[in-house]
Amino acid sequence: MFRLNFKSIARMRSVIERKILIYSLGNGNAQGLSTSVVNFVSVSTAPPPENPGNRKGPPTSNSFAVNMFRGVINTEQVFPYPEVLTSEERETLEMLIGPTQKFFEEKNDPVFNDDKAEIPESTLKGLREMGAFGLQVPTELGGLGLSNSQYARLVEVVGSHDLGVGICLGAHQSIGFKGVLLFGNPDQKKKYLPDVASGKNFAAFALTEPTSGSDANSIRTRAEPSADGKHFILNGNKIWISNGGIAEIFTVFAQTPVKDEKTGITKDKMSAFIVERAFGGISHSKPEKKMGIKGSNTAEVYFDNTKIPSENLLGEYGEGFKVAMNILNNGRFGMGAALSGTMRATIAQATEFAVNRNQFGRKINTFGAIQEKLATMSMKHYVCESIAYNVAGNMDRGFTDFQIEAAISKIFASEAAWFVADEAIQILGGMGFMKETGLERVLRDIRIFRIFEGTNDILRLFVSLTGMQYVGSHLRELQKAMKNPGSNLGLVFSEATKRLFKTSGSSSKAMVPLVHPTLSEAATLASQAVEEFGQAVEGILIKYHKSVMEEQFLLNRIAEAAIDTYSMAVVLSRASNSLHKNLPSAHHETLMTKVWCHQAYDRVKTNLGLTKGERNIQITKDMMAISEGICHNGGVVQSNPLGVL
């Protein structure tokens, strides 16, 4: 079985390297990096592993993205493309779309909302009457009880018309009171959900502070328990709170003293609270003047000795960070859906212009430069839309390990939307720059989506580190098995056979049988991408062990490759589905999928290549030095070429 030749020697050597890796992963804590990112990764994997009962095995997950990091293609959540609407849900949704669209076309005025930096009461009233404030609240508490997929479809309508209104609604229900839906006890739900669902009360999510953005754990707002244990006294400042100036109900995150029963030491840990403006001591600033989403109210909120009844603790005491991350994770798919809507509308506008505009004696859509823009814009939209509904569909199916996919969805959607709006303006040329065209407003509205609800920069690190942590935990199990091979021979041999495939180069075609035959070539590329991705990740972990957490240049390349690889699988799944159903758009979707897979595969190879080799290590070192020089100089270091100071 194990013939002693070059292959088996190589295998043994890599097995030894893995042992070293496993050993080092098992010991010690990460150094150097703020505990927040470490916590972010370890605590954010909050949903329990898929097989909590199996204490012998490693935590398993059926998330496609997470398994990519091991070079494994786990298809459960991607193939076939989920179809989750019951016929009743479909019928309900079809009925809801019309009036929603009509409202946004005829009653809501995005130009007014942007110019006046507010949403008029008449529009808010119309939104209340439409039930738009409680889309996912259970019907018995006054909401519409929509599933995630239904919610996504409606939010797509909002996104295609007015992102400012979208944020007002989203800050309210997607994060503002989502905590009550996810973590509230029955009394809290009964007390608070009806009035927020009807839109009588606005809700807001209050986490960010002047000194605490990405580093959420470092917040300083404090909630001190009263002596009798019946209240908490809340003090602190929150900034950039959407709906902060109009909300009646806040989900507030504050440090609370938590005593460790074993050691007797009291440490600060974050807790979450439902805070009513009526509790007193709450004031807010004037609305912030922003680049975009001007209709949405953004304000600072100040808590001055606000008395919170202890029944208003949301979730477990000291577990506020988990509450925050879960709320954000749960609402992320909404952004992908909303921005799909925005892109769809923007692409329609750009297309209408391109097919009508004459220059040089022909319509400009006959020129390659414009064709490339339109094609790229629509492929990015297709990917974004496919991922958003894939995530929503998986959430509806009851899967809980979708956090990497949700993060990818948010990163991709926000950057694709920016690209699409920007290119649309470019296609329209001077007209695109003019206010009356409406595209500049859309571009300004889109910019914030790369920043809030977890900056794309943090989310990229999150994607990489979470995936790598999963690999690491599997390797730990392998280590245990190696120490006592008899106990889990199956695991050792399966790893050995896996190694055999890996060292002989990428030959995986695992996705080919899952897709329509037309897409075989693209599926091969996607399968290879997963395999090469897994190898690269393992290589990085072997080299850097836990200190990989400091290697953000590498983590970003891995994140990019992860996004591209996952996106290939999703569009392959969707296009296959469309081909099997003979949709009128199936051929067009096939074209987009093929091109996307080719281009994405090239990008994956490039990004993975940048994680290896001396040249790239040197480039990273040099860039760090460049950055240091700039910081030292307070700006660019060199003076102008003329030397004139």
């Binding site: 309900t92 809801l96 009036p99 119309g126 039930g131």
Partner: protein, 254 residues
């Protein structure tokens, strides 16, 4: 006096959609295309709901003759405030050749069976622009008609209907029962609010077949072909009347 009002609604390609002709010229592309309630029918529904709110009507019923998908349109009508709906289910192949005469016969039978006092239809559907159903229904029932209504009022036992005609406005007084058709300026339809849509799911929706109503759907017309209008030719400027005449002669127009 409390009246029973029946409103006909039709599911049509949405007004904002760019309609495309099928390559085989048998019709327009409807697969995967957005559909909604005929706009004039929305106005008719709105009028019925308002009559109920004014206590002129005590029961308002929506009807649609069409394939399974017509139920969406009926649910929208229920969400706008209709009390119940009747779906006369027509299989797709027969629906493709269905004409106003067939619909009129269905409506006439339903009006008799349900003892309806007022029938309100949209003046025409935006897909075929026939503008026939209301008139034919009135004819079959031998009821007075007030078509192109821009105002409907009750005056004792009569209906006073203001009609928009080419020359201006005409006011007619009709005895009941009567058939009306809604024109654009009759009212502005309300939005079906999302909670009302959810409530509408609980309202009754009866199903009927053309056979139940004794209506024969055999087509009276045959559509030979459907084509795009010819692309518009560019105009030409002429210097004076003489040139105009010689040009027209050359084109064989005079």
């Amino acid at each position: 006096m409390s009246l029973r009002v029946m409103v006909g609604v039709k599911r049509v390609v949405d007004y904002a959609v760019k309609v495309r002709v099928k390559p085989d010229k048998t019709g327009v592309i409807t697969d995967g295309v957005k559909h909604s309630m005929n706009p004039f029918d929305e106005i008719a529904v709105e009028e019925a709901v308002r009559l109920k709110e004014k206590n002129v009507a005590n029961e308002i019923i929506a009807v649609s003759c069409g394939p399974a998908a017509s139920q969406e349109t009926l649910r929208t009508a229920l969400a706008m405030g209709m009390d119940k709906a009747i779906h006369v289910e027509i299989p797709q192949p027969q629906y493709d050749t269905m004409q106003p005469i067939h619909v009129a016969k269905c409506l006439a039978k339903l009006a008799t069976d349900y003892k309806v006092d007022i029938i309100i239809l949209g003046k025409q559907a935006i897909d075929d622009d026939c503008n026939q159903t209301a008139q034919m229904t009135a004819g079959l029932l031998d009821w007075p008609q007030g078509v192109y209504a821009s105002k409907i009022e009750k005056d004792g036992d009569l209906l006073v209907v203001t009609r928009e005609v080419d020359g201006g406005l005409e006011t007619v007084k009709l005895k009941l029962p009567a058939v009306l058709s809604a024109d654009l300026r009759l009212n502005e339809p309300r939005y079906a609010t999302l909670p009302n849509i959810m409530k509408a799911k609980k309202k009754p929706l009866d199903k009927k077949t053309p056979a139940d109503l004794g209506v024969d759907l055999a087509p009276r017309h045959q559509v030979v072909s459907i084509e795009d209008p010819p692309t518009r030719q560019a105009g030409a400027k002429v210097a004076d009347v003489d040139e105009l005449i010689s040009r027209l002669k050359a084109l064989g127009r005079i």
